[in-house]
């Protein structure tokens, strides 16, 4: 496996008005790496990954994705978004379209793929996530876990090299978390680059190459999972782990 950095974040700083939400973030992610980002709410972890695909804009620093710089250039933004897929906490499926249409929308309108091909690809990924039989249904007819799996399939349709997950299981009922995590574990084992913001520490322990702890807009500590969970170095990480791992 090459050791090339696929994402390089240098001295990233972001303000919401006067509020300094990301402070001097430096992070390099190699191709095929699985990185889990965790931390208390308000720590800026969602904001950070949203900067990568330009859903949020930053004032200082730079982000380089697969050789392309994240900036105002429309063409570059488009190229980055074709390469980077995002799975949201609230799924954000389009309720007025069928599951199948949700998946084929981008390939048809953005990549100009012929419909037949788009449908084939879509069905392939729906089968991957185990929802092929629901293709003609509407999102509101599916359970939360099913919807999230569809959302994952939707992002797979463009065969992205990088997948961003923004707390993908936080909005799910407990019994549905497992089915989504299973899909994510499979994807991880396929060699995709994944950045996951999540509280699911079991997932982190299983597949992560690296776990990053953020608080108040700053990266406090990062380590491979074994060291991260068994030997936390900073006091803040110790406190955080004691809070989330107590049950």
């Amino acid at each position: 496996m090459e050791n090339k950095n696929i994402i390089e974040i240098k001295n990233l700083n972001k303000w919401y008005g006067d509020f300094h939400v990301l402070k001097d973030i430096n992070m390099n992610i190699k191709k095929g790496e699985i990185v889990v980002v965790c931390g208390p709410s308000g720590s800026g972890k969602s904001t950070l990954i949203r900067c990568i695909n330009y859903l949020e804009q930053f004032q200082e620093g730079s982000i380089n994705v697969d050789g392309i710089e994240v900036c105002d250039d429309v063409k570059k933004i488009k190229a980055i978004r074709e390469d980077v897929a995002m799975v949201f906490q609230h799924f954000n499926l389009f309720p007025h379209l069928t599951i199948l249409d949700n998946l084929t929308l981008a390939p048809i309108w953005v990549k100009k793929t012929p419909k037949k091909e788009a449908v084939e690809t879509a069905m392939k990924y729906l089968e991957r996530v185990g929802i092929a039989d629901q293709a003609k249904k509407y999102p509101n007819q599916l359970s939360g876990g099913q919807q999230q799996r569809v959302a994952i399939a939707r992002s797979l349709c463009k065969n992205p090299s990088i997948m961003l997950f923004d707390e993908p299981t936080s909005a799910l009922d407990p019994e549905m978390v497992a089915e989504v995590l299973d899909v994510m574990v499979e994807l991880a084992n396929e060699g995709r680059t994944m950045i996951c913001v999540t509280h699911e520490m079991g997932f982190a322990k299983k597949v992560a190459d690296r776990v990053v702890f953020m608080e108040s807009g700053q990266i406090i500590e990062e380590n491979p999972p074994k060291e991260f969970f068994e030997n936390p170095e900073s006091d803040r990480l110790k406190l955080f782990l004691s809070q989330i791992l107590s049950h």
């Binding site: 900036c71 105002d72 250039d73 429309v74 063409k75 570059k76 933004i77």
Partner: protein, 384 residues
């Protein structure tokens, strides 16, 4: 250089620039055409016409107006008439709307159905049609002055309108006004004192009927203190028509009745949705902690219902003012009829005059939306 064009911010600026250029070009085009056309037709520009004599009569005016008055006075009369008719329609439609809105929610099936039928009927008939109906059908079938319907030999209803005695106050007018002010202040302060007393001692006092009594009696008492008594200008039949008294013309009445009945339907719906929006659990909780129906209405339900009902109701008031412009169809002399109508036909300076007319409504609109914002701000339920 081309890569700049791909910058999102640059694209945004470019797009806006194009829009501005397009707008300016369009305005320049119509501007030059208009100036040319105006010159061609010999129409003057500017507002000098406002000082010239109008030369036509206006049937009803709150300020003195004669054919020798200027066009500016015409404008003033128009605006005042707009405000007068709107005021009456707003007050009456609020009262009617409140009654219908509450009736709509009544447990009595007949009353609720009647209210519902009222709303469904008058909401689906165009307001202009309602105005014309009142004017041409109802008021036109009233008897001629000599055969008026009369009450107590002082109130007369006929096809020239409703004629009532007109009170002339003289010096005692001031006394009455002072009396009203004193009454309002008294009610306000007594209410405050009673609330304070309740907070300290827990004793409650049902002030509402007393408050109404004070408001009605005090001005009269003050009037009795005054030097002279009210002189009533009584209407009396002279020849074919009445002289004296205060006349509410059929144009005025048709407009007020139609606007009231039409607007009341929307106000009723606003009030109904306000009351319905207060969740059932609120009323249940109120009764379960022991509040009487009157108390739960006053302390729990109405405050929440009013929050929701006020913005659409105030919007309806704005609609009343705008709809008063339909008076043109029946000749009530409000601003559109006399200024953008008769006066415009004589002067011909359409742009100035229609702009002035529109400005009146825009000012009212602006005031109303400022009022709404202030109310919303005051009533905002604090959220986390």
């Amino acid at each position: 250089m081309l890569s700049i064009l791909r910058n999102q911010k640059v694209r945004g600026i470019l797009f806006q620039l194009l829009t501005v250029i397009g707008l300016v070009a369009f305005l320049w085009y119509i501007g030059t055409n208009t100036l040319h056309n105006i010159e061609q037709r010999g129409i003057r520009t500017g507002f000098a016409f406002l000082d010239t004599t109008a030369g036509f009569a206006i049937n009803e005016s709150p300020i003195s107006y004669s054919e020798a008055s200027t066009y500016w006075t015409v404008f003033e009369v128009g605006v005042l008439n707009t405000l007068i008719v709107s005021f009456w329609a707003i007050v009456l439609s609020t009262i009617l709307g409140l009654i219908i809105g509450v009736a709509r929610l009544s447990k009595n099936w007949i009353i609720a159905k009647l209210a519902s039928a009222y709303i469904d009927t008058f909401r689906n008939i165009p307001i202009l049609l309602q105005i014309l109906f009142w004017y041409n059908v109802v008021l036109a079938t009233l008897p001629p002055p000599r055969k008026s319907i009369e009450f107590f030999n002082s109130i007369f209803i006929n096809n020239r309108g409703i004629i009532v005695p007109k009170p002339i106050f003289g010096a005692s007018g001031i006394y009455v006004v002072v009396g009203i002010i004193v009454a309002i202040l008294a009610v306000y302060f007594i209410n405050r004192w009673l609330n304070k007393r309740q907070e300290e001692t827990g004793e409650e006092f049902f002030f509402l009927p007393w408050g109404i009594l004070i408001l009605l009696v005090t001005p009269y008492l003050f009037y009795l203190l005054g030097p002279d008594k009210i002189v009533w200008n009584m209407p009396h039949l002279k020849g074919f028509n009445f002289r004296g008294g205060k006349v509410f013309s059929p144009e005025f009445l048709a407009l007020v009745f139609a606007l009231t009945i039409y607007t009341a339907t929307f106000i009723a719906e606003a009030i109904r949705s306000g009351i319905e929006a207060v969740k059932k659990g609120q009323k249940e909780a109120a009764t379960s902690i022991g509040l009487s129906p009157y108390q739960s209405l006053k302390l729990v339900v109405l405050p929440q219902a009013i929050r929701i009902a006020i913005p659409p109701t105030i919007n309806q008031y704005l609609n009343v003012v705008k709809n008063s412009s339909l008076a043109t169809a029946i000749g009530y002399p409000e601003v559109v009829t006399v200024f953008a109508g008769t006066a415009l036909n004589q002067v011909g300076q359409a742009i100035e005059m229609i702009s002035m007319t529109m400005a009146v409504y825009l000012v009212v609109s602006l005031l109303v939306s400022m009022l709404l914002n202030w109310i919303n701000h005051k009533m905002k339920i604090k959220e986390r």
